[in-house]
């Protein structure tokens, strides 16, 4: 509406230009279609079609070599009765909870402290480093450092406590060890997102708080956290969605073991599809994962009223 009124006011001044603009406006459609064609084809062939196809496969018995065979709700019945699925869902949720809780707490503290102490891009850059390397590299490095015999962490543990820990071989330690790698890898990225959010909070708010005699901690709880809500919700959602789909660090370190103790959902889906070639059931599990992610995202957005900000 605003642009329309602006254009009518400029009309008497430059009628020629407006006429030209109007002609161009009509003429843009073919060019626009040409320019969006690659993206639209990519979207249709590799996003829209596979999404529909994924839903279809989940109702079929499909082993790649032969055509999919419609079985109705069989896969879903199998899913409900599949103990390994529920076990792996629980393992995944446990992993997500650990990664989200420790990831957010550590990156929030780091961001707030960086914001108070230094604007140095170098420091922010350094803590971002783990984010730039692949999950495979991170997992490889940590599995070397956590190696029971030769790893530096266990060498130190032996000196301190006298016995090493089997980080990836002990079923109660496998998931926390994986979560530690995941937190190490994503902490810097989250801290930088939160840091950017902190920079949007006007300093005057803190001055007002200080005048009112608030302590650092009170200002953190009553001003920083509420004003950061949008960014925090986004970081939590990104971390939840990312951790639900964890795969590479698991595949490199534990492959789901010992005794399925770290068999996260994506690992199980991968095993079903590429070692047992049960694509139909793998698709059913992906659909379940997809549904859970959507439900979680919407719940989080609703609960926190993420669309609103107290700043304006």
């Amino acid at each position: 509406m605003v642009t329309a009124t602006q254009e009518t006011t400029t009309l008497p001044v430059a009628p020629v230009a407006t006429a030209r603009r109007r002609r161009i406006r009509r003429g843009h459609l073919p060019l626009a279609l040409l320019m969006i064609t690659p993206a639209v084809i990519g979207f249709l062939v590799f996003f829209a079609y596979p999404t529909v196809q994924g839903v279809y496969y989940s109702f079929t018995d499909f082993h790649v070599l032969s055509a999919p065979n419609w079985v109705g709700l069989d896969n879903f019945r199998e899913l409900l009765a599949d103990d390994v699925f529920w076990r792996s869902l629980w393992v995944t949720v446990y992993f997500v909870l650990l990664s989200v809780f420790f990831g957010i707490v550590i990156s929030l503290i780091t961001a707030v402290i960086m914001h108070r102490l230094t604007r140095s891009t170098v420091i922010r850059g350094l803590i971002l480093l783990p984010f730039l390397i692949s999950g495979v590299v991170a997992a490889m490095t940590w599995s070397w450092m956590m190696d029971p015999g030769l790893g530096i962490i266990n060498s130190l543990l032996v000196e301190l406590t006298g016995h090493p820990l089997l980080f990836f071989g002990d079923s109660s330690l496998a998931v926390p060890s994986l979560a530690a790698i995941s937190v190490w890898k994503s902490m810097g990225y989250n801290a930088i997102l939160i840091f950017a959010g902190l920079q949007t909070i006007p300093g005057t708010i803190y001055e007002a708080g200080r005048v009112d005699g608030a302590t650092e901690f009170q200002m953190f709880r009553r001003l920083t956290v509420p004003l950061l809500r949008n960014i925090l919700v986004m970081v939590v959602i990104l971390t939840v969605i990312g951790s639900f789909q964890v795969f590479d660090i698991v595949q490199v370190t534990t492959k789901g073991g010992p005794q399925n103790a770290s068999l996260v959902l994506q690992m199980y889906i991968y095993n079903k599809a590429f070692t047992q070639f049960d694509f139909g059931y793998a698709a059913t599990m992906s659909l379940a994962l997809f549904a859970m992610l959507i439900a979680i995202t919407f719940t989080q957005l609703k609960m926190t009223r993420a669309g609103e900000s107290d700043l304006n």
Binding site: A39, F43, T51, L132, T141, W184, L289
Partner: protein, 298 residues
């Protein structure tokens, strides 16, 4: 005097805060140092002194093994398996995969972003919001059907099969560039139009150069993501001739015997896989840091 002491007095809180930050940086960076320290060690000697902070029995042997430059005898003398690891080939594959994918998807995103921001046509907002729906679909959901598509096209074990699904469309890239293009002033564009330049010419001569900064950022982010990609290449490749380095590294780790892992060789290969990312970081670190902050605020 009084004000100076208030601002520069190192309070307990500030010292603790700096100490916390120092610990965080140490934990962040130590693994990188440990990769280097291990890669420069003799794999046999690692057993004798596992907690030494310096390379144990310094040697370039692990890098030679990782790059396939060591003879079998040399490799075995330093605890390598002697099996050939063709890191140079994997490195080439990674460069082709990440390079071609980045160039294609950023260009296609730029043209689409231009159509969604500077061109006026019916249905623009509707088409844009449909494309944005792709942000909702998790990768795992589309990967299995995409694998079937690529397989039916006979493109498994080829660069085309690896690159195609991500070559034309990225909802995030289009969104990111459109946001920037919407903010461009229309004056230069209009001046060029009045001078007789068509919209296509305006795109190549004016809008693309004006967007060089965000385009460079997107190229960086896409390149890093593709370089580090693991799941998709794992699905569609089984052949060394196209396998990227990230994938080869994981396979190498899994295939090495558990009893006598060549950790020095593995860490050297790890460093080679991470090196391009570290190099990009040294050159473009500031831009990467700032662009990540930017994506957060949007």
């Amino acid at each position: 005097m009084a004000t100076r002491s208030v601002t520069s007095r190192p309070s307990v809180g500030r010292i603790l805060a700096w100490a916390y930050l120092a610990v965080i940086i140490l934990v962040t960076l130590f693994p990188f140092y440990w990769i280097l320290r291990t890669a420069l060690s003799n794999n046999y000697a690692l057993h004798t002194n596992p907690s030494s902070l310096l390379p144990v029995d310094f040697t370039w042997g692990a890098f030679k093994r990782a790059l396939g430059l060591a003879t079998v005898a040399e490799a075995q003398a330093e605890g390598g398996s002697g099996a050939s690891v063709n890191t140079a080939l994997y490195l080439r594959n990674s460069i082709v995969y990440a390079g071609v994918q980045t160039a294609l998807v950023v260009f296609c995103s730029a043209t689409a972003a231009y159509a969604f921001s500077r061109l006026r046509w019916r249905g623009r907002e509707l088409v844009f919001s449909i494309l944005l729906c792709a942000l909702m679909v998790p990768a795992i959901f589309t990967l299995i059907p995409n694998f079937v598509t690529v397989k039916n096209l006979g493109l498994t074990n080829s660069f085309a099969g690896m690159i195609l699904p991500g070559a034309f469309f990225s909802a995030f890239n289009i969104f990111f560039l459109r946001q920037f293009m919407l903010g461009l002033s229309s004056e230069v564009e209009e001046a060029a139009t009045i001078d007789g330049a068509g919209p296509l010419r305006v795109f190549f001569r004016i809008v693309l150069p004006m967007c060089s900064a965000p385009i460079a950022t997107l190229c960086l982010l896409t390149f890093i993501n593709t370089w580090n990609d693991y799941f998709w290449p794992l699905m569609v490749t089984s052949d060394d001739s196209v396998r990227p380095l990230t994938l080869a590294l994981a396979v190498f780790k899994q295939s090495s015997p558990n009893t006598a892992v060549d950790w020095a060789g593995l860490m050297a290969a790890t460093l080679i896989a991470a090196a391009p990312m570290l190099l990009l970081f040294v050159v473009f670190g500031k831009r990467i840091v700032n662009s990540i902050g930017f994506t957060g605020i949007k």
